[in-house]
Amino acid sequence: MTGTLPIKQAATGVALILAIAAPWLLSAYDLNLLARFLALSLTAMGLVLIWGEGGILSLGQGVFFGLGGYALAMHLKLAGLAEGELPDFMIWSGTEALPWWWSLVKSPFAAVAAVLVVPTALGALMAWAIFRRRIGGVYFALITQALALAFATLLVSQQGLTGGFNGLTDYQTLFGFNLNLPSTTLALYFITLALVVAGLLGLRWLLASRYGKLLRASRDGANRMRFLGYDPTPYKVIAFAVAALLTGMSGALFTLHAGVVSPALVGVVPSIEMVIWAAIGGRNSLIGAIAGALLVNFAKDKISTAMPEVWLYGLGALFIAAVTILPQGLAGLFGPDHPFRPGKAGDLFARWRRERAKTASQPIAGEAAP
């Protein structure tokens, strides 16, 4: 363990330097991808918190992703309009007046506040309602999956209010900055990077604190905690709310970089893909989560370009490999008992010797006790 730490830190440092230099190293397109995927890594980190540490598998992170994304996108749609004008989709959907909750995000500050508050508050509320009733494990996973489906269906079916299946797209300005200018794009990249680093450090601190221990304790000892005088619910609620916050931010940033938010990003399938980022990276490793989000998404982009039919096979195989071969994800390769350690090889060898010994020496009947 001690031996591997400096290597890890050095690698992290190099990665950070590369990330800072990226705008000068990458093509505009690849930089845009990097920015998007860094934004996604916030979601993956949130999953490390709730799934890896809290044992809560959420298959509905798309909901929070979407809340963050839509909150910002609504503002962006309004920002491009003259006074009294309606967003284009409302016109062709026959909506006649701007719904009140749209006008809430008219100011960019309100929009940023909404990005931060709405997913967090909803996450907290939902987690409280569910964990209070002591629902967990697979149940929780499936309920959140249903929520993701419900959310996506709702977005689609309320086209006049949400833009429906198309989602919201075509943004022009944020805080008065023209989103189409390269300088804005660059600034947004660095903001994203800064938020990822901040998220990483913040979560590190949180997990190292006593809170982290109590969260782990509530993972499989919720009842025991109760009988020690602790209410396990708040720890899970906090974890879930923090993850929702990160995911909401992730959604908002992604929306900015991608230029679109739509139900296709929030439903059942994207929500599960979010989990796979964390699983591939390592569900207990924050750095792993970032790496996982970047790797899976870059792979998806590159592979699906080259061979679209192969991508689904690849993704499927990734899921299977992630849990069978690498249950600790990529981070597991560098952890304290990674498979490349000589000790393991020794064990394999021992087994081989045993196999041999077995065939060689059948015991003689009635062999005396030693």
Partner: protein, 247 residues
């Protein structure tokens, strides 16, 4: 007259028509020692369950310092100063032995307190102390989930003690322990008296005799006998249903 520390008043616990506790009344005074014995299935564990909020009485009241607690949430009851060791040991499997103890020893168990450092050093110190007492020093950093059955038993006793609760409920603390460990436990339990009230459930009569204290015999959810161990041992009926030759 002062109110007793804990009072069960006509408590009934009903499992789909089966009365595991049937109109049971019992009083425990501060600092006292109560030993509960009785056949398997007599309702001893269920009685603890009803005190600690794990099952809810169908009727009757549980009073702690005069306040009704039978409807409170589990952690709130513990917060009032009652803590319990379970018959099947329950520890926080994902944490190390010392963390288990430290969490139990922490005084402020509100969730917001976990972000502050206050009281942490104190809890740690107390945890180390108890670690000594329960003889798990060389297991300090082992994950509690990896302990053997008996070690878990010890750890759980340690955790209960660490909470410093006013009333400790120990459900079969010596199950799976040998004779000398049992007497160590007895010593530990006796040292708690005065400051804590202790209720012990056990089937090991040697252990019970080392504890001293007031003995209560439960049978079919009801209180069958009460008295000193001598009186109980002399009782024909208890012998028939419970002690057998062991008396």
């Amino acid at each position: 007259m002062t109110v007793p520390m804990l009072q069960l008043e006509n408590v009934v616990v009903d499992f789909d028509g089966f009365k595991a506790i049937d109109d049971l009344s019992l009083t425990i005074e501060s600092g006292s020692m109560t030993v509960v014995i009785g056949p398997n299935g007599a309702g001893k564990s269920t009685m603890c369950d009803s005190i600690i909020g794990r099952v809810r009485p169908a009727s009757g009241r549980v009073l702690f310092h005069g306040a009704e607690i039978q409807a409170e949430s589990e952690h709130a009851i513990v917060g009032r100063g009652i803590c319990r060791k379970f018959q099947t040991p329950g520890v926080l499997v994902a944490l190390s032995v010392i963390d288990n103890l430290a969490i139990a020893a922490t005084r402020d168990r509100n969730w917001w307190a976990c972000f502050s450092r206050k009281g942490e050093a104190e809890a740690r110190a107390r945890a180390e102390e108890i670690l000594e007492q329960i003889g798990l020093t060389d297991r300090r950093d082992t994950l509690a989930g990896n302990l053997s059955h008996g070690e878990k038993q010890w750890l759980e006793i340690g955790m209960v003690v660490a909470t410093d609760a006013e009333l400790l409920l120990l459900d079969e603390p010596t199950a799976g322990m040998g004779a000398s460990e049992s007497s160590q436990t007895a010593t530990l339990v006796r040292s708690l008296l005065g400051k804590h009230a202790v209720l012990v459930i056990d089937h090991d009569i040697d252990f019970v005799s080392q504890l001293g204290g007031h003995v209560v015999v439960l049978h079919q959810g009801r209180l069958l006998r009460e008295g000193t161990l001598e009186q109980i041992r002399a009782d024909e009926e208890v012998a028939a249903i419970y002690l057998g030759r062991a008396k």
